[in-house]
């Protein structure tokens, strides 16, 4: 018979404030299998851990039940502990008497009796727990980073600088992402490209980073530590290694399309350089805008390049498939702006002087369409009255985005301040709902804009915008004074919400990981595991996970890189052995379980005609166990007999 020890934690008053600890200990000691029961104020502390370790030795315990906080908090702590005391780490169960008991009950009697039941159930379970050894899998010591914005750049550099190889996959012609489009950054007003450019150059020079531009992930197979990834790279019509960015090809190109980098405010050719600081520093041919490659309609760029004796352009280039093997993947897919045309009350797309915040950003930029001068799109005049509308398309659960994009209060303050700097006799109005300026130096920055720069902050929303003559009439409300306002503005800037970038949904299904209700990548735990996706080995960084600003993105990227390094710095990997197992005698090989597995961990062995579990892939969710019609599948240390004895303990506690 197993000798079980029960350790009950007070957690200060967190548990002891509601649960009668002495009574729980007393009742536990009456259980025939409990050889020893004791309580402690903080079991997770060093004295608390020593108490458990000593008790195991003194009372010759075979298994341990710790009645304390959620297993998500300290299961690993106590399992590590009993291992040092010579027990198998799976001979430890946690009875959650905090989150699921003391925190949710007021009544002492009910809470105490529930705590007793929880302890009793765990004793019943641990009695039947088998000793298990971790599953060992080899690790491919390389990392894939998806997305070449500031998050992907930071993560790739951190991994590469630790001596590991990185593939950086970027869908456009250059890395840099949204940050490359920004003019300044808040609250310090650093020039964005001046601080990003050097990092982009570093990526290009780093021998450990293989940069794949114009590429996207097409398929991911395998599992944590051993992913097999197929990346499709669009045809490289311009040879990155030969192109010296002379620009002769652009001069002769006849096709013109709106320039995405300038948010469509300028035009570019079909063969173009994404922006001056592009990395790789080479031209890109956009096949969709080209007059025709198959059959060849023009070919002027190729001729111009050949005339210079460069021959960088090959219009017959074919797409390339790259088969990559990596141990960890960092998804850093970034964001886009909410579609302003959907906010019909603001008339975006109808009135040329209603613009998005990103268009205004490009106009502020020294390398932008107006070389940093502020001009109205309709007539090129300098606007005097500018209205900034915060929360555009946000915090509107009924019609638009339900959430707050977090960065708009700050960048709008910066936009309004830059407008004030550039047009000192102009007037900026900012419509806001609340000012959310949580961050180092943020509140001070907004205050400075409001108090020193004479910006008019109006608390309320804009109901409608329409044109009258060459002015935009902005009808809104100032809820502080209770007045309806009508501002005759020259320009309106919409601070649009952030949405996950296009393709996130497809990528999530390729990565076999999940998105949240708003389409952002879901994290494994919102507080304790914010850098990890629910799928092992896939980490998250940047605004693809949730709206965030640059410092937070960089911090998360370094964190995700460190998590990935943590994984690939080992030659082998240990995984939890609490996975599904098949009892061959019962298995008919019907295969019902195979599609039920979300991780593709099950397969049919054609010679034995039974199911096999790929233990390295199984996450131990138990879905297959429930689907098996013959009871051949079970989950290690969560067997039917364990469940039954736990239920019995719950309904008739001893």
């Amino acid at each position: 018979m197993k000798r079980v020890g029960v350790f009950v934690c007070h957690c200060g008053l967190n548990i002891a404030g509601t649960v009668d600890i002495k009574q729980v200990v007393e009742q536990a000691s009456k259980h025939p299998d409990v050889a020893y029961a004791v309580d402690h104020r903080y079991l997770c502390s060093e004295p608390g851990q020593t108490l458990i370790k000593d008790a195991i030795r003194q009372h010759n315990l075979h298994a341990v039940v710790v009645a304390a906080c959620s297993p998500a908090m300290h299961e690993v702590t106590f399992r590590n502990l009993i291992q040092t005391a010579g027990l198998n780490r799976h001979q430890c169960e946690i009875a959650n008497i905090r989150e699921q008991c003391s925190w949710v009950h007021d009544d002492n009697t009910t809470a105490t009796s529930k705590a007793h039941i929880a302890v009793h159930q765990s004793v019943e379970k641990v009695k039947l727990d088998e000793p298990l050894d971790p599953i060992t899998v080899p690790v491919t010591r390389r990392v894939l980073v998806i997305g070449g914005g500031i998050a992907g750049i930071r993560a790739a550099l951190d991994v590469a600088n630790s001596g590991y190889q990185v593939y950086l996959v970027e869908k456009t012609g250059s890395i840099g992402g949204r940050m490359a489009q920004l003019s300044e950054t808040f609250p310090t007003l650093d020039c964005s490209i001046c601080i990003l450019g050097p990092l982009m150059a570093e990526v290009y020079r780093n021998p450990n980073i293989k940069l794949l531009r114009l590429s996207h992930v097409e398929e991911v197979n395998g599992y944590v530590g051993n992913f097999k990834v197929r990346v499709r790279q669009e045809p490289q019509y311009v040879d990155v290694t030969k192109c010296n960015s002379c620009g002769e090809c652009t001069k002769v190109c006849p096709a013109e399309v709106p320039n995405e980098f300038d948010s469509g405010l300028t035009w570019r050719k079909a063969i173009y350089i994404p922006f001056a600081q592009a990395v790789p520093p080479a031209y890109v041919l956009d096949a969709k805008s080209c007059l025709g490659l198959l059959p060849r309609a023009c070919g002027e760029c190729e001729k111009a390049c050949n005339k210079l004796g460069m021959s960088c352009i090959n219009l017959d280039a074919a797409p390339e498939a790259h088969e990559l093997e990596v141990g960890a993947i960092i998804s850093a897919t970034g964001y886009e702006l909410y579609d302003a045309a959907r906010l019909s009350e603001y008339g975006f797309g109808i009135y040329p002087n209603v613009m998005t915040s990103l268009e205004f950003e490009r106009m502020l930029s020294a390398s932008g369409p107006t070389s940093g001068l502020i001009r109205r799109p309709s007539d090129g005049h300098v606007p005097r009255e500018v209205v900034f509308i915060q929360c555009a398309g946000q915090r509107e659960p009924e019609t638009a985005l339900p959430y707050c994009s977090k960065i708009c209060c700050m960048y709008t303050a910066r936009h309004a301040m830059m407008f004030h700097h550039k047009v000192p006799d102009g007037q900026a109005y900012v419509f806001y709902m609340d000012i959310r300026a949580g961050g180092k130096g943020y509140e001070e920055f907004v205050k400075r804009c409001q108090e020193e720069k004479g910006l008019l902050y109006l608390r309320g929303r804009v109901a409608k915008i329409y044109e009258e003559g060459d002015k935009l009439v902005v009808k809104g409300v100032d809820t502080l004074s209770g007045k309806i306002l009508e501002i005759r503005a020259d320009l309106v800037v919409l601070a649009l919400g952030m949405v996950p970038s296009q393709g996130s949904r497809q990528l999530a299904s390729i990565l076999k990981t999940s998105l949240d209700a708003n389409g952002f990548f879901a994290e494994a735990h919102p507080k304790l595991r914010p850098l990890e996706s629910p799928t092992s080995g896939i980490f998250l960084a940047g605004a693809g996970q949730a709206p965030k600003d640059i410092p937070e993105t960089v911090a998360q990227a370094s964190g995700a890189a460190s998590k990935a390094l943590n994984l690939v710095s080992h030659t082998t990997l240990e995984r939890e052995p609490t996975v599904a197992k098949v009892t061959d005698q019962f298995c008919s090989g019907c295969g019902i379980c195979i599609p039920s597995c979300p991780y593709e961990a099950l397969s049919l062995n054609n010679s034995t005609k039974t199911i096999e579990v790929t233990e390295a892939v199984c996450e131990g969710c138990g879905t297959c166990v429930a689907s098996c019609p013959s009871g051949a599948l079970s989950l290690r240390n969560m067997t039917d007999s364990q469940l039954v004895s736990m239920i019995t303990a719950a309904v008739s506690p001893k």
Partner: protein
């Protein structure tokens, strides 16, 4: 056009009293499009604004009874008045969504109603069942050169989640109809603002600035005529002008969209109950087109 299509029709109180012209012109125009508006049996007042003004369930008893009676005759009910449309469409959806409330409401009625009747506006029939292109083909006397401001007000469009007739801020359904009739649709900013509703009756000092603002906005953008789908909106938009001291030439007559539809389909002004003031405004702008009609 294929065979005659028939729709169950709810006229409502106003269309039997102050807005007979709306009812007459709608039925006549519908016939010209091979559509029959078949009046439902035993209809009663929808409750107007009071129905959705409070959370008191008793206000839903009326619309629920109407919908229950309509269900005996069909699954689609067509309305004209924006107010009735708003009330019946929302009541029908609520009946479907909240069975518990509906149990209580049904306790007052002989008719057991749990949703199932789709309430449509005639505009929806024209757009979705016939199509504006088909209507354009049926036009005999195009309203060429007639600058009309479509006025939506609140009830056709809002609350958007329940009404879903068109974009609540930038609707286009009436404009598209007007353009298919050959008229010029005038875009003016106030076309979705509130006219003042019932305040026009009791508290005109509140309603008047609202409705005259709408007329001024339409006039300054070039509208010579306003097209509406609501008797109350029409009343407010007219009364505010009669009370104003502006010269007669500034007067912007208000017509129902069905009257313009009928005119373009070749019906005579008297079949559509157009008055002389309205006709004068139409004639002064669309002389050629109307020459054909009135000769």
């Amino acid at each position: 056009m294929e065979e005659m299509r028939s729709y169950l029709y709810f006229p409502g109180c106003s269309l039997r009293t102050v807005a007979k012209d709306f009812d007459t012109s709608a039925k006549a125009s519908a016939r010209a499009l091979d559509l029959e508006l078949r009046e439902m049996q035993g209809w009663l007042c929808c409750g107007a604004v009071f129905t959705n003004l409070t959370e008191n369930l008793i206000t839903q008893a009326g619309p629920s009874r109407i919908l229950g009676r309509a269900q005996a005759e069909g699954n689609t009910l067509v309305t004209l008045c924006a107010g009735c449309y708003n009330v019946l469409r929302r009541s029908s959806q609520r009946a479907e969504l909240n069975r518990i409330n509906q149990d209580q409401i049904n306790a007052f009625n002989e008719e057991r109603y749990y949703g199932g009747v789709t309430v449509l506006h005639l505009l929806e029939i024209l757009r979705d069942k016939i199509g504006f292109e088909e209507i354009a083909k049926a036009v005999k006397a195009p309203l060429q050169g007639l600058p009309v401001g479509a006025y939506y007000g609140c009830l056709l469009l809002r609350p958007f989640r329940e009404m879903r007739l068109d974009d609540p801020h930038r609707p286009s359904i009436i404009e598209k109809l007007l353009m298919s009739l050959g008229a010029t649709a005038i875009d003016y900013p106030s076309r979705t603002e509130c006219c003042g509703s019932y305040l026009g009756v009791g508290s005109s000092e509140i309603a008047k600035p609202l409705s005259s603002g709408i007329v001024q906005s339409a006039r300054s953008c070039g509208a010579k005529l306003l097209a509406v789908s609501c008797p109350l909106c029409k009343y407010n938009l007219e009364v505010c002008q009669n009370l104003s001291t502006s010269a007669d030439t500034d007067f912007v007559p208000v017509v129902y969209f069905t009257q313009l539809l009928g005119l373009a389909l070749g019906l005579q002004p008297e079949q559509l109950e157009l008055n002389s003031q309205q006709l004068h405004a139409i004639r002064s702008c669309a002389r050629t087109a109307l020459g054909k009609v009135s000769q």
